[in-house]
Amino acid sequence: MGRLSATVLPPPKPAPAETAATGMAGAALPVVHEPAVPFVEIEAVRAKEFVPAAKEALTALLAEQGQQKLIRPVFNWAGRNSLFPLHWGLACCAIEFAAAFGARWDAERFGVVPRSSPRQCDLMIVNGTVTWKVAHKLVTLYEQMPEPKWVIAMGNCATGGGPFRTAYSVVPGVDKLVPVDVYIAGCPPRPEAMLDGILQLEKLIHERKE
């Protein structure tokens, strides 16, 4: 099981540049550490060492193939059909986020159930303006979520700062802090747009090969 879970890690996302706002003195932002990519290195010097090394590589290859054909589609199906977003509200988009779980749109139809604890989430919907003051908390929450995990930047503020991009306290886009998978346009996006973003993410997960 340990082997399995190690190989279905998501693709190593580009490490976000560690930034520091010029407008905010003394704010040391945390770094998002990307997990080390495991790899097998074969150093066949002597036959005695070659045999176990080759055997290991072959086993790994077979496991990889088996995973590609059988296990990955199942887990991809499970992963895309049960996305638990983090239950939190940043700003205006949070109201539309809540409306999407209301009676009219009912995001639970797609298996989307918000959980309050980041440990139980696999999707962080950044629904609103991210300020430098909350940036640390956001990164902490992201790091508390277990792999595999995804981020949706909902609305213009999370995408690029929106109407507040010039403000001294606003992060111009949450992708400066955490890797973002899906961007949803709108200020705020309608609940339909949010659901569409989630469906786009499901498509991404469905096509996941790594």
Binding site: A91, T131, K133, V134, T166, Y168, S169
Partner: protein
């Protein structure tokens, strides 16, 4: 386990927004609280200084996202006072219409959030469902669900579409029925009364000293409603009662908000009748020429100087769904406001948090804060 501090927020189901309530607890009892704000500080007052008067409206919608219309109204009144512009009468009525629909929307949102804090699951969905009906009406004449950008200095952007009055009346009738259902679900439940009676008590004098306004103050029996005391727009021409309760607790705030929704329905019926019979312009015809323009016309500064456009200070106060909101607009004759300062009702209501939270249980914090109706956008601005 003796006393310890816990952080409720910024990511916590109780907060309904982005703020942090630091609570010192002794077992399950609250000993001290310290709200920590600013997680959503977006510098709206600063950005406003770089924008034209009409462009600030964009920010106002996002300032308080559950009561965007009310904040537009607030800012517009301040800006009109500073620029010495008068809107036509129909615009006044349209603004009252927007305000009251917004009050319905905001209070329905409050209802949804508040009952969720008590652990009631279904009414949350009911509140959101009925709020969507109000938002549909907004959408039919502003094109947006939450961020409307509808009001303008000197009036409103456009008139109502045909058939709006009938649709609104249908929604109002539906809501009238639903209020009975809400009351049955909440007041009819013994557990609700046991939870909420005598909870989060904030008596009148203390509330006034701490600057608490709105439903929280009226639940303490203080009859202060700026719509009556200092009528703005068309509020002096409509008939309504001020919702009051005297228990000063969570139940009282619930009763006040429910009654306010009923009064809103009453006001809206009158306003819709008036609008049916009084067509007319919705924007004042004599406006500074640059007000409607997205960019300052070439040589605007010289133009203004030549015209010697009046400088001015504007103070406006409205009864926002959360309470008394103020705006102070300084017009130094330029095309941008020199300074815009807002007073958020929730800001003051939250600053008094220790008066109504200390001494209760940890489990009481969510319903009490739910009854305060926190909208962090307008607190942090």
């Amino acid at each position: 386990m003796s006393e310890m501090w816990i952080n409720m927020g910024p990511q916590h189901p109780m907060t309904h927004g982005l703020w942090n309530l630091r609570v010192q607890i002794d077992g399950e009892l609250v000993r001290a609280v310290d709200p920590e704000m600013g997680y959503l500080h977006r510098g709206i007052e600063k950005i406003s200084e770089d924008r034209h008067y009409n462009e600030v409206i964009t920010l106002m919608d996002r300032c308080c996202y559950v009561a965007g219309m009310a904040w537009e109204h607030l800012y517009i009144l301040g800006a009109e006072a500073a620029l010495q512009v008068r809107p036509p009468e129909r615009a006044d009525y349209l603004r009252v219409l927007c305000d009251e629909f917004q009050r319905l929307g905001s209070h329905l949102m409050w209802y949804a959030a508040f009952v969720q804090d008590l652990g009631l699951m279904s009414p949350f969905l009911y509140g959101m469902r009925d709020r969507d009906l109000v938002l549909d009406l907004f959408q039919s004449f502003t094109g947006a669900r939450m961020t409307y950008e509808y009001m303008r200095v000197g009036g409103v952007r456009n008139d109502l579409p045909p058939g709006f009055a009938d649709r609104s009346r249908k929604v109002l009738d539906w809501l009238d029925d639903r209020f009975r259902e809400y009351d049955a679900l909440c007041l009819g439940s013994t557990i609700f009364r046991k939870r909420c009676d005598g909870l989060g008590v904030l008596k009148g004098p203390e509330a006034i000293a701490h600057g608490v306004t709105g439903p929280m103050l009226r639940a303490a029996g203080v009859k202060r409603d700026l719509r009556k005391d200092r009528p703005y727009s068309a509020y002096d021409r409509v008939d309504f009662d001020v919702a009051l309760a005297d228990s000063a607790d969570v139940t009282g705030r619930y009763l006040v908000r429910m009654e306010e929704m009923r009064q809103s329905v009453r006001i809206l019926r009158q306003v819709l009748d008036w609008l049916d019979h009084h067509p007319g312009p919705v924007v004042a015809d004599r406006l500074p020429r640059w007000l409607g323009a997205p960019y300052a016309p070439v040589g605007a500064e010289g133009y203004l100087l030549k015209r010697n456009y009046p400088k001015g200070l504007g103070l406006s106060a409205i009864e926002e769904p959360h309470g008394e909101a103020l705006s102070y607009v300084v017009n130094d004759g330029g095309e941008h406001p020199y300074r815009v300062k807002f007073r958020s009702p929730v800001f003051a209501n939250l600053s008094a948090a220790s008066t109504y939270l200390v001494g209760y249980h940890v489990a009481d914090i969510p319903p009490i804060m739910g009854s305060v109706d926190v909208c962090v956008g307008e607190v942090d601005r």
